[in-house]
Subunit: 376 residues, 2 copies
């Protein structure tokens, strides 16, 4: 059985699919691609049993076949070739020969039966319960880019290791939190009839962020899985089957003092303060007064200290509040597109709410950061 | 005591000196810079006791001082600042305050007495035995770039862990070898009266390769140290005090068959063959015939194999010879500036000699590669 593909087209495709191939796994079969050829279309699958990626391209053949081929090796071979046609000759002895003008490469394959089943959307089994919607690619990318950094890495609380997608009256809400900070992004005017919560695991979010472009994304949600269909690739992931914590109760409703600062200036200053803060606490002190923000840090063991003055607009009583500088930096690094941020403050012990001065159209973005105790 | 420097100028300087600061050392004092101010000039030193780097810049002060400051922290601070003047205020309590328009940063310093002595060239002690010469920066860089990769990493044979500089009648010879391959580069017309051998350790070669530019390099050689003086930086290194092995005896004198190949084409093919060769031997087979070079590799355990045909010019009897593909790739990767290479061959068991078709002016470059046994 033979089929022919262009090396550059195949490379592009494999490059998109390979993120689903696990690098270390107790199931070696997952280190392979499933190649499925039907009606002149080659569909390639990869999965780590949590997420699956799938994409297709036309090939020159009239036959049908499904084989399992070593993912990394095949990708390296295809990537190392200049643009050329590759003739795949699948032999019955478990070998595939890849022929180009100057070269011949032999790899082994396994039978498709050994590869795990990949769920499909919508299917006969799930078509009744599946919720379907369309999102703008740029909106979805914006939402993931601004929320994903606050997901927890603590395996003790699995629900927080994903991004909450919550359908409410006003639209679709994205929430992430690790207990120290929280991001809450509302995408207005996006809706379904069902007001449900879905938790998408970190891996799916991180892979999606890389492949989403400006095109419309079709989303299918079941109780256990979600499928994101992009122009030329489909990602299916398991959902995290846990209850998301009640994030609303930690959001303070009245933080009456507003501090407006330049994002870039604050980020540069915070990065310098991270050089001086104690490495285990990373504590940085904000001393806020009218028109002046002093940030400072010190490491008593190392005998180092730093402080800087920045311009800010502030309408409250002078206030000192401490933060983990790495968390402040995370927020700033994910808002470099915003010229200015507003910090809504109340007291040294109450969470601060941070918002961009200019919200993107149809987006309401809010970040919450817990303070840390100051010594004095 | 105070002095003032421009942050960008200081950053450039520290960036050149910091490669001599060891990252892990049992002597924490070496993780510092020595700042020495005399007559309005700040001279900065760093050393790992093998190599020392030293450079200067003018500063605004009339006083003299020598202090030891934490290298990594100071570099990170200076690098994180926008261009600004920095006022260093050295207090008697062991603290230095760095003042800018918006910020104040405090670091600790130690007394200069605690810092190891840095050798100077030429000095009263070594002026009689020191050999002095000038080399073109571009020539020296070319020599290091084409020879350094073949230095040994085996601590069992310390002499081979450096680059041999040998002054002979015809010029200055650079030799590196690890027992599997050898590079021998003659820089013609460069001379001293003394025909001596000096072995420069790997670290010095690697740091020099990064900082050498096209300007003349002044070299001072003593029996134990060598100093390279560039436009704005001086590197002093200990020499390896061992006898270099008799490299001439391994160079075959009559390899009568010549194979001419395109460097880039061969490199691309070798990289692909590395995907198929057994990972512990990396063996690749060259089957050479008139106008045709077939290279092939296989991994019996993985059931993979690859072979490719390249065009070559060859004037001998058909021949099969095996190499370690990683070593062939090293040679090709360090000769990407050469369009074509000549392989001088004799038999499957005799070392091959590789030279660029076009030698650079006043340079004679020769690379030797030992073959590996083929199975058949």
């Amino acid at each position: 059985m033979e089929f022919k593909v262009n090396s550059v087209e195949l490379e592009k495709l494999l490059n998109k699919i390979i993120p689903a191939v696990p690098t270390r796994t107790p199931m070696p079969i997952l280190e392979n691609f499933l190649f499925d050829i039907k009606s002149g279309v080659l569909t390639i699958f990869a999965t780590d049993l949590e997420i699956s990626l799938k994409s297709s391209l036309p090939v020159t053949t009239e036959e049908e076949i499904a084989v399992v081929v070593p993912a990394k090796l095949l990708f390296e071979i295809v990537r190392s070739l200049k643009e050329t046609d590759i003739l795949f000759k699948v032999e019955s002895n478990g070998k595939i020969h890849l022929l180009t003008d100057n070269g011949e490469y032999t790899i082994s394959y396994l039978e498709a039966e050994e590869y795990p089943n990949v769920p499909t959307f919508p299917s006969e089994e799930n078509k009744d319960e599946v919720v379907e919607l369309e999102l703008s690619g740029s909106g979805l990318k914006f939402a993931f880019d601004h929320t994903s950094f606050a997901m927890s890495k603590e395996e003790m609380r699995p629900a927080m290791m994903g991004t909450l997608l919550e359908f409410i009256e006003e639209g679709l809400r994205f929430v992430t939190t690790d207990g120290h900070r929280l991001v809450n992004l509302l995408m207005e005017g996006v809706g379904t009839d069902v007001h449900n919560q879905y938790i998408v695991p970190e891996k799916a979010v991180s892979v999606l962020s890389k492949v989403i472009d400006d095109q419309i994304v079709k989303v299918f949600l079941s109780k256990t899985h979600v499928s994101f269909i992009l122009k030329d690739i489909e990602l299916i992931t398991r959902l995290i089957g846990q209850k998301y914590p009640d994030y609303k109760s930690v959001i303070p409703l009245e933080n009456e003092y507003k501090m407006k600062v330049n994002t870039k200036e604050l980020q540069n200053a915070i990065k310098r303060m991270m050089l001086f803060s104690t490495s285990n606490t990373r504590r940085v002190k904000f001393s806020v007064a009218e028109n002046k923000l002093e940030i400072s840090a010190e490491d008593l063991d190392m005998g180092t200290a730093g402080k800087e003055n920045l311009y800010c607009e502030f309408d409250g009583e002078p206030l000192q509040i401490g933060f983990n500088a790495a968390y402040v930096n995370d927020i700033l690094a994910h808002n470099t597109g915003e010229d200015e941020l507003i910090f809504n403050l109340h007291s040294p012990t109450k969470a601060v709410i941070i918002r961009p001065v200019k919200q993107k159209e149809n987006i309401d973005l809010m970040m919450l950061l817990m303070p840390v105790r100051l010594n004095n």
